[in-house]
């Protein structure tokens, strides 16, 4: 027979066993030792050139670090943070069952039993003989409102492990839930025989009590006392039994039992609180004061201060009552509204008695909703106050506090461990990111760096690495964010400044790009930087400065065709088409197949409505650069306008094969298909165009037309409305 704890919550100590140290840690070094070992092994593999093994070991270190972080959060009562930590752990390694189990435990605590059921079901299928998981699953099922499935799970587990007392006990509780009292009783007898200590009978008695089987509960608790009159909690539960039955509230019996319990443990705050409440309810407020003061001092809670205030008011200590009730209000801010109203009511009475009429009026107002029934409600709810486990199911255990292997750490050690975990995580994620970057997997590298930055944004190199990876993955917006942080940390670093400038340039933030490049020491000697600077100036409406840059470039690098193309594009962007054409023609004269010259000319001719010239220039560009995507798209536009849809569609299909996310090309192809009567085929393209550029009004208009044609009127109306709203928004923006 396995050892059997005296309280069901032991199950929840499972999280303790999950952390890598194995035993409860007392010092920071003990808590961090397993992580440090993993990191050292990973770095040794790295030095040995075994990057795959290094990756695996870094991941194992990350797993351990998140598990420790989760345990720290549990110890501090930050369950949502613990949930996130265990979730991160579950994404670190292939075999993450320990993280999933901890995650499920926390999910049960934070009111997400359905998620816990999903996780635990999978775990228990994978390991049918893992009884701990099955027990947890049963608890999660019960908490999720699936008591029959819970019982079935426990029956299966019991059949596989008939000697496991915890399973037997939980199954008995499940039977009580299913109202199979005889079956439960048989199992409880088995449990008691297997573990013949008085605490077993306390646990059984309490479970009967939770299911409101008061006679059986009393019998079990008395058995515990018969075995050992000093058994803790037996008198306490007998006391609660005296006040729980409806219509038969035996306050004196309860008071006697609570007092008997306090003889065994005079400083027990819960028993003091219950005794104080029972005395108050018996109108013996003066006697209630002492136990309530102990309860309020040792375990401050809204309930304790509320009842203390009530009693102080009753014995004429209005000023003390005001203090206690104000404290109750602070502590009860997140309590149920009816309790808060009752506190307001009592506080209003105390304030009035203390002569603070105006202040009292405010609290009477706050209490208004339920005050008229206050006295009755107090009595009616007495049994609830006395019931320390209001959820009368085995799931109640899941709602009791989780314990953590790191709960015993002092605050200073706790902080040291937390800092060590953060450093280890940042270091491991950063090194994984570097491994990815070295393999030129920049998007993947960015994700690791992102995680390093999320854990410790100030870790050395992290923002620059993140910015650099995002830049190389062409994720310029994200690159700019990280590089801005990197530059703030190291304002004199020209490399960071330059990369940020280029990221800004690529996101269209030309003003900022130009400002950043203005003082770049390498600009004068690097034509590509000079070019970017010139273009940024043009596009941020500083054409005169740009002209000076380009003139200098022409002087420095000769009369080069590429520079004339840039100048031509700059003029075109300014709307000076004549100057643009002049430069572009010059570029063609110097190098007839210079990239982009004909494409830009084609675009200019299109804007001028010269379709034949546009088509000729674009075809010329494609003769030299057949894969020029913009030239193909512009030519398709020209051909569509010129009534040649077939060739336009062929061009667009080719463009989309290379750039499926090119929204203008999708839109144009959809529009041409729609005009050709192929609405069915047009719809997916127009849908994609809208998805890629949701703020373009004309896309919504064409999509609405296409939906109309295929009989999807509801969607047609929706997109027509979007079209109109975007149009109106655009009109509103106009001066």
């Amino acid at each position: 027979m396995k050892p059997f704890s005296s309280r069901v919550p032991r199950l929840l100590v499972l999280a303790l066993a999950l952390w890598p140290g194995g035993v409860a840690a007392q010092t920071a070094a003990e808590a961090l030792a397993p992580i440090d070992r993993r990191m050292a092994l990973a770095e040794a593999s790295l030095r040995g050139g075994e990057v795959q093994i290094a990756e695996s070991r870094y991941r194992a270190a990350i797993f351990d670090a998140w598990m420790v972080a989760g345990a720290l959060h549990v110890a501090a009562g930050r369950l949502l943070d613990a949930r996130d930590a265990f979730r991160h752990a579950s994404q670190a390694v292939a075999d993450a069952d320990a993280a999933f189990r901890s995650l499920a435990l926390v999910q049960m605590q934070v009111g997400e039993p359905a998620e816990a059921v999903t996780l635990l079901t999978r775990l228990s299928v994978r390991a049918p003989k893992d009884f701990q998981t099955r027990r947890l699953l049963a608890q999660a099922l019960t908490a999720n409102g699936q008591p029959e499935e819970a019982v079935q799970t426990l029956e299966e587990a019991h059949a596989l492990a008939p000697d496991d007392a915890e399973i037997t006990f939980l199954l008995a509780a499940g039977y009580l839930e299913a109202k199979k009292v005889d079956a439960a009783q048989r199992l409880f007898v088995e449990v008691a025989a297997a573990r013949p200590i008085p605490q077993t009978w306390v646990l059984i008695g309490r479970t009967y009590r939770d299911f409101r089987l008061f006679d059986q509960a009393r019998e079990a608790l008395n058995k515990a006392l018969a075995k050992d009159p000093t058994t803790r909690r037996a008198h306490y539960y007998l006391g609660t039994l005296a006040v729980m039955p409806e219509g038969d509230v035996r306050l004196e019996e309860a008071i006697r039992e609570f007092r008997a319990e306090l003889k065994l443990a005079p400083e027990d705050p819960v028993v003091n609180l219950r005794l104080g409440m029972a005395l108050a309810d018996a109108r013996r407020e003066k006697a209630a004061l002492a136990p309530l003061e102990i309860a309020a001092r040792l375990a401050p809670s809204a309930v304790a201060f509320h009842h203390l205030g009530r009693c102080q008011l009753a014995v004429g200590r209005a000023a003390d009552a005001v203090k206690s009730l104000r404290r109750a209000l602070v502590l009860g801010a997140v309590d149920e509204a009816s309790r808060v109203r009752r506190i307001h009511y009592q506080l209003a009475l105390a304030l009035r008695q203390a002569g603070a009429e105006a202040d009292a009026a405010v609290h009477f107002e706050a209490a208004k909703a339920g005050s008229e029934r206050q006295a009755d409600a107090e009595r009616e709810r007495l049994s609830r106050y006395l019931d320390d486990s209001p959820e009368r199911t085995p799931a109640a255990a899941a709602r009791l506090a989780l314990e953590s292997p790191l709960a015993g750490l002092t605050p200073a050690v706790h902080e040291t461990v937390a800092r060590g975990v953060r450093t280890a995580l940042a270091r491991a994620y950063l090194n994984l990111g570097v491994l990815r970057a070295q393999a030129e997997q920049f998007a993947g590298a960015g994700e690791f760096f992102e995680q390093a930055a999320a854990v410790d944004p100030d870790f050395p190199q992290v923002q620059y690495s993140l910015g650099s990876a995002r830049f190389n993955a062409k994720q310029y917006e994200q690159a700019a964010v990280a590089l801005t942080r990197a530059l703030a940390a190291d304002p004199g670093n020209p490399n960071v400044r330059r990369m940020l400038a280029l990221a800004r340039f690529n996101t269209g933030a030309y003003h900022q790009a130009a400002d950043l490049l203005a003082s770049d020491p390498e600009r004068a000697s690097d034509p590509s930087l000079q070019y970017a600077y010139g273009v940024a100036l043009v596009r941020s409406d500083r054409a005169r400065d740009a002209e000076a840059v380009f003139t200098r470039m022409l002087a420095d690098h000769g009369d080069r065709a590429e520079l004339h193309v840039i100048l031509g594009q700059a003029h075109a962007q300014q709307g000076d088409f004549d100057a643009a054409v002049q430069d572009l023609e010059r570029a063609r004269r110097i190098t007839p197949d210079v990239p982009d010259a004909n494409a830009t000319l084609g675009l200019i001719y299109l804007r001028q409505g010269k379709l034949a010239e546009a088509a000729a220039a674009l075809r010329e560009e494609l003769k030299h650069n057949p894969r020029h995507v913009l030239a193909r798209h512009t030519l398709a536009t020209v051909l569509d306008l010129d009534g040649q849809p077939a060739e336009a569609m062929t061009l667009l299909r080719g463009v989309l094969q290379e750039q499926p996310e090119f929204s203008d090309a999708r839109y144009l192809l959809g529009k041409i298909l729609l005009a050709s009567g192929e609405a069915d085929h047009a719809v997916p393209h127009l849908e994609a165009a809208v998805r890629l550029s949701p703020d373009d009004a004309s896309y919504h208009y064409q999509l609405a037309q296409a939906y109309r044609k295929v009989g999807r009127s509801e969607l047609a109306d929706k997109h027509l409305a979007l079209f109109q709203s975007l149009k109106e928004k655009a009109r509103g923006r106009r001066p």
Binding site: A40, E43, A44, R47, Q52, A60, P460, F471, H681
Partner: protein
């Protein structure tokens, strides 16, 4: 773009290692030399020598790098079992490495061992949840195993991460067809054909969707286009057979279905249709044989799904027909 020295920089910033001294530099250098020799042998077309060298590096230096290279050669020679054995060894040394898991998944998928592939792909989709390719392969493996609802979910996840990818759309179309969700499959497949009008897989899957929707002429036409490019295409032949069945041309239907069965011996659906065709032609022996084959394939699929369930992989166990 990242400076090559960054890694060592980061390591130097880290706390000094406290355990497991690094492997002797000499051993690492020796391993690198063996790997270089293996590469040279391979370059010279001497695969056997290259494999021998890689196997020796894997063994002597417990090198996962060498194991991955060896598995690649074994897989390239069609030795899936050998490659998987090598990769299993790599996995014991580096259980949490994406490259190792991905290699296992790909070799297992190519060898039509979906459960083995799934055991690598399930963790892979957790370790790198934003990589569409892992979800795509997860979906394909689930399709191979016959778990179409779970496959649909995985493929939809891939599509969310990388919208409009042709391979994902086709696989999703096929998965939806297997679940008789032809109306959902059709627009996806049309979308693929807009981008790639001659894609044979998309044409065949579209034909299957159209057949399911009762659009027999369109199904026939798209299946014919697929068969013009790949005459033995199993799905296209299946569609042609099913269209012919609906047009009461049973003999031609049986011929097409037999071609489909020859090209894909694992599909229960083909045998089911063949049993119907034989029955219509009065060939009760053929009907009975094909019905038995249908049930046999179905049982194999059920076994695979049961295996998925047993190893705790997502499965809803919906059976195709």
């Amino acid at each position: 773009m990242l400076p090559g020295v960054m890694l060592s920089l980061v390591i130097s910033l880290a706390a000094p290692p406290q355990a497991a001294p690094p492997p002797p530099e000499a051993a690492a250098a020796m391993r690198d030399r063996v790997l270089e020799q293996a590469a040279a042998e391979l370059q010279a077309g001497r695969r056997a020598e290259a494999k021998k060298l890689l196997a020796s590096a894997a063994e002597r230096f417990t090198s996962v790098r060498a194991m991955l290279q060896l598995a690649r050669l074994q897989s390239g020679e069609g030795d899936a079992a050998g490659a998987l054995a090598t990769l299993d060894r790599a996995r014991t040394l580096a259980p949490d490495t994406e490259e190792v898991l991905s290699a296992i998944a790909q070799v297992a998928l190519a060898a039509r061992r979906p459960v083995q592939a799934l055991l690598a792909l399930e963790p892979l989709t957790r370790l790198a949840p934003r990589i569409a390719r892992h979800h795509y392969l997860f979906g394909v493996a689930l399709m191979q195993a016959g778990d179409m609802p779970a496959a649909t979910e995985a493929l939809q996840a891939a599509d969310r991460l990388e919208p409009g990818h042709n391979l994902t759309s086709i696989a999703l179309g096929i998965a939806l067809n297997s679940r008789k969700m032809f109306g959902d499959a059709k627009p996806l497949l049309l979308h693929v054909l807009e981008r790639e009008p001659d894609n044979v897989e998309a044409l065949a899957a579209l034909a299957e969707a159209e057949e399911g929707l009762g659009e027999l002429d369109a199904a026939d036409s798209h299946a014919a286009r697929a068969l013009a490019a790949t005459p033995s295409h199993p799905t296209a032949n299946l569609v042609v057979g099913m269209v012919l069945m609906k047009r009461d041309r049973y003999q031609e239907a049986r011929d097409a279905l037999e071609r489909a069965a020859a090209a894909d011996t694992e599909s229960p659906k083909v045998y089911y249709q063949l049993s119907l065709a034989c029955a219509r032609l009065g060939d009760s022996a053929g009907a009975s044989r094909n019905r038995e084959l249908y049930q046999q394939k179905l049982r194999a699929m059920e076994a695979r799904i049961e295996e998925l369930r047993r190893v705790g992989l997502p499965s809803r166990g919906e059976m195709p027909r």
